[in-house]
Each structure stands twice: as structure tokens, then as C-alpha cells.
């Protein structure tokens, strides 16, 4: 249930970017969410209409790119996929690995409509 708080923080950030770019509307928001971020993509999607209401992103599309978990083994050096609660090396089974991806909680990009202002000039 912390997804609503996170979504509200996201909208503040998106609004600020839209203002900086003098956009009239936010068209699309792209996020990267990994399974180890502690954030559930579908709960973010549910929170999005609430958090975006009344903002420049009210009619925008939210795209969430799920990220796969990958670990690098400190012993054998292989990079292999892993599960959230089993981050051991897929090649040699050692547990001393480093997470390479899978904990992303990122705003990747926003797509903005800046055209209206241009037409009025």
C-alpha cells in the first residue's frame, strides 16, 4: 500500500519535468520496475489514476517495463538470471553474488506534448 505514496512522488516529479519543458500535456510515462524494488507494478497502475488526477499527466499512458533479476557470481564470474528469494549463481550455485539488475524503481522517460504553445505563437 506504499505504492500510492510512491505514485504521488512520481507525479510531483513528472509535473516538474513538464513545467521545465513548458509542456501542455504529459502523453506517456515510462517506468522501470524490478521485482526487488519492493514496489508492485499492478498496484502502481491502480494508484496512477488517483495520483494523476488534476495534473498535466491526467490523460497520460503509464507504461511499466518489468526488469529481470540478474546476478553476477563473485566466484565463477558468470551472469545468470535469479529469483527474488534465491539470488545464488545459476551456474555454480554459490551465494556470493552481486545484483546486476532487478531492483530498479526508475522513471525512465516522459513523453510530452509541447505543441499547443507553438500554435498560439
Amino acid at each position: 500500500m506504499h505504492e500510492l505514496a510512491i505514485c504521488q512522488a512520481l507525479m510531483d516529479q513528472v509535473d516538474q519535468i513538464a513545467l521545465e519543458q513548458q509542456a501542455t500535456e504529459v502523453v506517456k510515462i515510462v517506468l522501470q520496475i524490478g521485482p526487488l524494488s519492493g514496489v508492485e507494478a499492478h498496484l502502481l497502475e491502480q494508484a496512477f489514476p488517483l495520483a494523476s488526477a488534476g495534473t498535466l499527466a491526467e490523460r497520460s499512458v503509464l507504461e511499466i517495463k518489468p526488469q529481470a533479476i540478474e546476478v553476477e557470481c563473485s566466484k565463477c564470474g558468470q551472469c545468470t538470471p535469479a529469483k527474488p528469494n534465491l539470488l545464488v549463481c545459476g551456474a555454480c550455485g554459490d551465494w556470493k553474488t552481486r545484483l546486476i539488475s532487478g531492483d530498479e524503481m526508475l522513471l525512465e522517460s516522459v513523453e510530452l506534448n509541447c505543441e499547443e504553445d507553438m500554435n498560439h505563437v
Partner: protein, 274 residues
């Protein structure tokens, strides 16, 4: 780390922050702005601010996380009693309702600020910042932040702490690190609490609990403790002593530290900004 953008860049997205690709036009003529910033950018900024405050006053800040009833407050009471006047302490308590935990701490003569979150399931950096206004940081060696009892949400919010300690109490079962990987992976130290119950709850295996923790690629220490015996706290107390010493050294050198989780993004960010 990452004062400038708060991002966590990984191998899979590092190419996006290379020069050249920040602004582009889509097929429909819309402007696409590449951001690559943590969703909690604002919180992370406030957390850095808190951390700077702690460092400026030589305070070591420790965030305690666990499920409700795992014994966070009892551990703090026992710790304060065992260490006595070796250090000066303060506690920030996070709960949905009541001043109960803060009152328990105050009975030991220790300043405690209660944050009641209403229905919020976690503390965030802004709440901690507000609570700091009620404390005199110059009078504190160790600030314990007792997070809301919850094994899910608190893991996602940086408060400005230097270290995370996650508690797992024996009645909860030894599979908790496998069920709640995010919060156990965030720990710099895991404490197996209420170990005095091990003889009764004999289906709890400390070995299995440790294996489940190691399966998260976590090499952090795991200590078995109980507040029922002073000697069973010794590993934890020595860890605290060592961390206070380490923080004092960092302060002298003008350095800081944050929970060990995710050094990857910071390292990549430094290399990409060169």
C-alpha cells in the same frame, strides 16, 4: 551518493544515460525526455539532507525494521540498559497510533519522539526530518529509528540512516527471509530475536534462517539474541560499539556512509558522469 540525480543506474539501463540520448522526438512529434531517476527522488533528497545533519553532529543513525511484535522496542530498552552511559541515545518511534513505545523508552531517561503515521505503513525521510526538530543532535551518539512494524514497505524508503538492522523473531518462523526478500536484503545486520523461545518453538531452525538469508546473496552478520539474558546481547553490543567508532572516524575524515544495499548504481553513475 548520487546527490545530483538520485538515480540508480544498472548495467541494463546504463546506455540510456550516455551523452546524446536525453531529448528526442517521437514518431508523433511529441517530446520524449529521458529521466532515469529514482521514483523516490524527492524522498532520497530529504534522506541525504538528514544524513548530512547526522554527520555534522557526529550522530550514528540506525533504522530498525521488522514485523510488528518482533521485539524492536524491547531490544532498545535492553540495549540502553546494558550499555548504560557508554553512549548518549535518542529514539524515533514510528507507529500508526499511540505513544506507547516512546513512553517505554522515556522511562529509561532517553529522549524519544513518537511519529504516529495514521494509516501510513512506513516512515519516510520527511517524517524523520520533522522529528529531528524535537531532538538536540549534539547530545546524541546513537539515534535509533524504530520503523513501523512491517516487513514490506519500510524497505523502500531511505530515511538518511547509516545502517539498517532487520529483526527476525523466533515465533515468526525461519522462512521469513525467503518470504520477504526485499527487507532482509536491505539489512546491514540481521538479529534473530527471542532466542529464549528456541527450546519451545523447536521447529525454528537458526541454520535454515541463515541459509534463507544467504540465498539473498547477503553476507551480513546474523546474531542470535534475547533480551532475557545480558550475555546473549554481547555480539550486538560489540557491533554497535564498532559502528559508533567507524562513524566517528568517518566524521573526522568528512566521509559518510549509507546502507550497503545497491552499490552498483552509485558506481555506474560515477563512471557515467566522467
Amino acid at each position: 551518493m548520487c546527490d545530483t540525480c538520485g538515480c540508480n543506474i544498472t548495467n541494463s539501463n546504463a546506455h540510456l544515460v550516455k551523452p546524446g540520448g536525453k531529448l528526442s522526438l517521437t514518431a508523433s512529434g511529441n517530446e520524449a525526455v529521458s529521466v532515469l531517476r529514482g521514483l523516490l527522488h524527492e524522498n532520497d533528497h530529504a534522506a541525504e539532507h538528514n544524513r548530512s545533519h547526522f554527520d555534522a553532529h557526529g550522530v550514528l543513525a540506525i533504522n530498525l525494521m521488522s514485523s510488528p511484535g518482533a521485539g524492536k522496542t524491547a531490544l532498545l530498552e535492553a540495549t540502553i540498559q546494558a550499555l548504560g552511559d557508554e553512549f548518549r541515545y535518542a529514539v524515533i518511534e514510528g507507529d500508526l497510533e499511540t505513544e506507547n513505545d516512546a513512553e517505554r523508552i522515556r522511562r529509561h531517561g532517553i529522549p524519544a519522539v513518537q511519529i504516529t503515521t495514521g494509516s501510513a505503513c512506513h516512515l519516510d525521510a520527511h517524517m524523520v526530518h520533522d522529528a529531528l526538530h524535537e531532538l538536540n543532535l549534539d547530545d546524541i551518539d546513537i539515534l535509533f529509528i524504530e520503523n513501523v512494524g512491517n516487513l514490506v514497505c519500510p524497505a523502500s524508503f531511505d530515511l538518511g540512516q547509516h545502517l539498517n538492522v532487520t529483526l527476525l523473531s523466533v515465533p515468526e518462523g525461519d522462512d521469513k527471509p525467503a518470504k520477504y526478500p526485499v527487507i532482509f536484503r536491505a539489512a546491514d545486520l540481521v538479529l534473530l530475536t527471542k532466542s529464549d523461545l528456541l527450546p519451545i518453538l523447536d521447529d525454528f531452525s537458526p541454520q535454515k534462517a541463515e541459509q534463507n538469508l544467504r540465498n539473498l546473496a547477503s553476507a551480513v552478520p546474523l546474531y542470535t539474541v534475547t533480551v532475557k539474558s545480558a550475555s546473549a546481547l554481547e555480539n550486538w553490543l560489540n557491533w554497535l560499539r564498532a559502528e559508533v567508532k567507524a562513524q566517528r572516524l568517518r566524521v573526522v575524515k568528512g566521509q559518510t556512509s549509507q546502507p550497503a544495499i545497491q552499490p552498483e548504481g552509485a558506481a555506474l553513475h560515477e563512471s557515467s558522469s566522467l
